[in-house]
Amino acid sequence: MTKEKQPITTNSSVPFPSTAVAAEAAQDDAGIAKEDTAWTQAPEPTPHAADVVTERADAPELDTDRTPKMIADKVSVFYGEKQALRDVSIQVHDDKVTAFIGPSGCGKSTFLRCLNRMNDTIAGARVTGHIELDGEDINSPDMDVVQLRARVGMVFQKPNPFPKSIYENVAYGPRIHGLAEGKADMDAIVEKSLRRAGLWDEVKDRLQESGTALSGGQQQRLCIARAIAVDPEVILMDEPCSALDPIATAKIEELIHELRGRYAIAIVTHNMQQAARVSQRTAFFHLGELIEYGKTKDIFTNPREQRTQDYITGRYG
């Protein structure tokens, strides 16, 4: 993957490295340039952050022409007495990558885990607010959490392949959800998932070997293949590259780029360059609050909030 310094046209003096991927992403966004203008000409925000967020999340000028895949409205999370997340409102679009950035402990991973109700598995965690997937309330009693998680897949920070063969790792989801009729069908699903995860050529001759014997980067792509295998609509990635070396990271980023369009993707990352490279929408979290949410380009070149500016220029965080 060629690393090409190519600053995005900007009215700010903040430089950030970009890759071909990001450049391409930027071109994608060019198609909705009109609404870009509308957004940048939005009235100056009031000093109160929560108000700003609410206003922007509901802002009709952002992605007017499509219904968001997932809508989070005033989501708060409590761990026991402690509030980890305060009134977060965000939309995730099905043809875009949404990046959540912010310093450690800012609640971005917590928020991500709300989207497929993984916080249910943590004792003492309580989620308030409203989250919709295709207009359905995911926290309603009618929503089957098992079905929800099949539709909203997740990739974790540390690669966590099951201690089974590569084949069985990918076949795990389809098997529980009964997606395959017979062996040939399952083989096809496994191959398709591994191909989409860019792992097929590396493992096609050793599908029966243990998934844990792969390298870290391969394991993470195996986890992505595993998530893809149940044909989800949304994929959540919780710092998927933080345990990987730069080459493996580049491969995952390339993969995210290829998966975009097929799945709605939300990614938590500590790496701001990564957010800039892979995402079209960026949300900046700080101390459990959503500070700013908008087009990645705008967040990185022309943030409206001083705190965002400080964070992306490395003044804190």
Binding site: A123, A150, G153, F156, P163, K164, G173, I176, C223, R226
Partner: protein
């Protein structure tokens, strides 16, 4: 001078050496910077004074008895004793007891006369051994004390001593095991010189009662151990495990995966109490409560049932084994990383699917280890089967019938008076060795299984 006195003297010398070493080191410290703290110099002298002398005493004290006895027997009075082993031993042991003041007078008149001779040799050898131990202690103390210098590395020296002590401690367990195995082995070989090994290993008749007179029925005895091993496996490895594996595993799964912290903190200790119940209590529970109920149940089904049944013993043994299975399974399930569980849950698996397909396979080595440990515990278990399983060596698959186990037969063979050169008694050693070998093989299988199916998740 007795060895007890020598022991006290050695301890005193060591203590003094310790104090002197420390105070000398303190004196040195005033002049120069010490390599080691004064306490290490003290400990160095203490260990040098104590350990060699103690080791010598430990070796000497059993040796001394033999030396004294040999010396006594070689004196004219000793030569005059009856040549027959038992009569002579009775006299010498009485004489020894009189000499050491444990007894006023002997039953045998010779012993009173022999006592002064004993006294003489006890004093002589006690003097030699005790004196040498004290000399060793003094030499050690002198060595330790003369080392005290600013640049002497007493700390490293103490470290080596401690390592040596730790090695010695671990060797004691290993050597004891080895000794037990060897003694079993030799007695077993003696047994096989009287009864052919093939009969013992493959015979299906077990009636070890040797007749007193040659014309009595069953005079030869039968030593086919197959019914015993079948009974052992039937009760310990089949019936008990049918009870213990599901119950233990399910309770471990509940405790680790479903139970809230509060419930767990109450239930886990309660379950572990089950492991602390003396097996004799389980035994009478099995014999008095479970066995009659099982017999009545069997009879109501129209199955021939005896009042001492394999089922009763096996059921109670299974209950006894639950904590073993459960706590091993608990540990290995808890050791499965949360990331693995999250990965499965995030795929839309339910909690029980996650447990069955991800957690249990990953925890399998530990679970198998726990089960095999439980099996070897169960087949070695004695009290429950003695009380509830019966003595009849039946080769039957009817759980309502009475069977007997290896351990029950060992108890039968070795309780009461026995002669140590009859096949009946020696059979117990052969059974013991066979049981030991089976347990060993079980452990080896466990290790192999664990290694083969170990699925690394880090």
């Amino acid at each position: 001078m007795t060895l007890t006195f020598a022991l006290i003297a050695v301890l005193l010398i060591a203590a003094v050496a310790g104090f002197l070493g420390r105070s000398r080191a303190r004196a040195v410290r005033d002049g120069a910077r010490l390599n080691s703290l004064p306490i290490y110099h003290g400990a160095y002298g203490f260990l040098w004074a104590l350990v060699p002398a103690l080791l010598f005493l430990a070796i000497w004290s059993p040796l001394q008895g033999r030396l004294i006895e040999d010396a006594v027997l070689s004196t004219p009075q000793g030569q005059a004793l009856p040549a027959f082993d038992m009569a002579r031993d009775a006299i010498t042991s009485e004489a020894y007891e009189i000499a050491t003041g444990q007894r006023e007078a002997g039953f045998n008149p010779e012993s009173t006369a022999l006592a002064p001779v004993y006294q003489q040799f006890i004093n002589r050898y006690g003097g030699i051994g005790g004196g040498f131990a004290i000399l060793l202690a003094l030499a050690g103390a002198a060595w330790g004390l003369t080392r005290v210098r600013a640049n002497f590395r007493a700390r490293a020296g103490v470290e080596r001593w401690l390592m040596g002590l730790l090695i010695a401690a671990s060797m004691i367990a290993i050597l004891t095991t080895l000794g037990i195995v060897l003694s079993l082995l030799f007695e077993t070989l003696r047994f096989f010189s009287m009864v052919p090994a093939s009969e013992f290993l493959f015979g299906t008749q077990w009636s070890p009662q040797m007749a007193l007179r040659a014309d009595q029925a069953g005079s030869s005895g039968a030593f086919g151990s197959i019914p015993l091993f079948w009974g052992t496996i039937f009760i310990g490895a089949i019936i008990a495990m049918i009870v213990a594996i599901p119950l233990g595993l399910m309770s471990a799964i509940f405790l680790t995966q479903y139970a809230p912290a509060k419930v767990r903190s109450v239930m886990k200790p309660l379950l572990e109490i089950l492991a602390g119940v003396p097996t004799v209590v389980y035994g009478y529970f099995a014999a008095l409560t479970v066995a009659p109920a099982v017999r009545d149940f069997g009879l109501s089904l129209g199955i021939p049932a005896s009042s001492e049944s394999a089922l009763a013993a096996g059921l109670v043994m299974g209950i006894m084994i639950i904590p073993f299975v459960s706590s091993m399974a608990d540990d290995s399930i808890a050791a499965v990383p949360q990331a693995m569980r999250d990965g499965s849950l995030a795929m839309g698996a339910t909690r029980s699917e996650t447990i069955r397909k991800v957690v249990l396979p990953a925890a399998l080595p530990g679970v198998v280890g726990g089960v095999l440990l439980a099996v070897s515990r169960a087949i070695g278990e004695t009290m429950i089967v003695v009380m509830a399983a019966g003595l009849a060596a039946n080769l039957t698959a009817n759980p309502f019938d009475s069977v007997t186990t290896v351990t029950v037969q060992i108890v039968q063979l070795l309780t009461g008076d026995q002669e140590f050169d009859s096949p009946k008694t020696l059979a117990a050693f052969a059974l013991g060795l066979a049981l030991f070998v089976i347990t060993l093989i079980l452990n080896l299988i466990a290790l192999t299984v664990v290694r083969r199916y170990r699925e690394a998740y880090e």
